[in-house]
């Protein structure tokens, strides 16, 4: 019997399709986006650290770049990504232990409010201290 199957890529794009979906799906998509972002950051971080081996000039140039507003904004994005991924991961772990399964939606919303507030406070500290 001839059947049609969507391509793997088209199917994987469902991971980010939150249209008309509920908070659990938002949590799922956010965890994937932040997870991929953190993996990319990890490699960027290793590249930046490798500049240490290239002498003081290379490092000083990076430090000057790191103090510019666009770079500081990326720091805030990183902080937000860490908070969203970490706190959402906590929710998934608790649910996996059978804890708070029925409260997964309010738990997600509460944890994301905490992530948002902490990102704003952290962002203010990054820019103004």
């Amino acid at each position: 019997m001839a059947v049609l199957r969507d391509s793997k890529l088209k199917r994987i794009l469902q991971w980010g399709d939150v249209r008309r979906r509920k908070p659990g799906m938002w949590a799922y998509a956010l965890n994937r986006v932040t997870g991929l972002g953190l993996v990319v950051y990890l490699y960027l971080h290793l590249v930046v650290l490798s500049w240490l081996a290239q002498g003081p000039e290379a490092w000083e140039a990076f430090v000057a770049l790191a103090k510019t507003p666009p770079f500081l904004a990326l720091d805030v994005v990183l902080l937000a990504g860490l908070l969203i991924h970490g706190l959402n991961g906590l929710r998934v772990t608790l649910n996996g232990f059978g804890i708070g399964v029925r409260a997964q939606k309010p738990l997600f919303i509460a944890l994301m409010v905490i992530a948002a507030v902490a990102s704003i406070v952290g962002g203010a500290a990054i820019f103004f201290q």
């Binding site: 019997m1 059947v3 049609l4 799906m25």
Partner: protein, 253 residues
């Protein structure tokens, strides 16, 4: 009273590119989406779709209505049209597509059969609206007795949860929400599960509960309140407890 419904329907035949076609049908204003699909079929009798009971018991007609998994037999046309210019009807996701709105459910039913039994309602309302007591359903040994009702399946095996599951999108072999919910139900002591260890091993396997990433869309989309995500989390809890006990030297029961 009758209303005119613009219905944008997914069309596909092997060898041709998938497309959407819009049909204008007239149905009674209290009609459901399956009535509108049948009206489309009366216009173009090449339209492939499944339908049987028309009251959410068989699960045959499951499709996506406006992008979300639904049983069209219980979705009023008025509700589906609210705030929209047309109703969009598409087949379930994550299944091989045979044609138009019909997907291949053979693999799904094979997984369902692995649990070895149907999912049984814990409480069914009596004719006077009173939930049956446990003693009316199970005998003294906890075995299912002569049931005072005939409709005893909560899960109607419509496949909606598989379509809604984002993990299913990239993992064909994943046992899936309905299958894991069936395993969970089959391992409940009340049904005297002799195969409990076997079923838990299946749930603990590569394609079992650990593949779920907690999107909870299965439970949200389920038209019969089976709560597959709850069942998956309960299985995880049981498996973790067993692993911890084994770690500390307790013997398997």
């Amino acid at each position: 009273m009758a209303i005119e419904v613009p219905a944008k329907v997914f069309r596909y035949r092997p060898g041709a590119a998938p497309r959407h076609e819009t049909y204008r049908v007239t149905v009674p204003d209290d009609a459901t989406v399956i009535d509108a699909i049948e009206a489309v079929w009366r216009q173009v009798n090449t339209l492939m779709f499944r339908h049987a009971c028309h009251h959410a018991s068989c699960g045959a007609c499951a499709v996506r209505v406006n992008g979300y998994e639904k049983l069209p037999c219980i979705v009023p046309v008025k509700e589906a049209l609210a705030g929209r210019a047309e109703i969009v009807v598409e087949p379930l996701r994550n299944f091989p597509l045979i044609g138009d709105l019909v997907v291949d459910v053979a693999g799904f039913f094979q997984k369902q059969a692995a649990s070895g039994m149907v999912i049984t309602r814990e409480a069914e309302a009596t004719l006077d609206g009173r939930p049956y007591q446990r003693s009316e359903t199970f005998d003294d040994e906890g075995k299912l007795g002569e049931r005072p009702y005939t409709r005893f399946e909560n899960c109607i095996e419509c496949g909606i949860c598989l379509s809604a599951c984002p993990t299913m999108a990239a993992a064909d072999k994943f046992f899936g929400p309905a299958g894991l919910a069936a395993i969970y139900r089959a391992t409940r002591p009340a049904d005297g599960a002799q195969n409990k260890s076997l079923l838990l091993a299946l749930a603990d396997g590569e394609q079992g509960v650990w593949r779920c990433h907690s999107a909870f869309e299965c439970t949200e989309a389920c038209p019969q309140s089976v709560d597959p995500a709850g069942a998956i989390m309960a299985l995880r809890r049981e498996l973790i407890a067993r692993k911890l006990k084994r770690l500390f030297g307790a013997r398997e029961r």
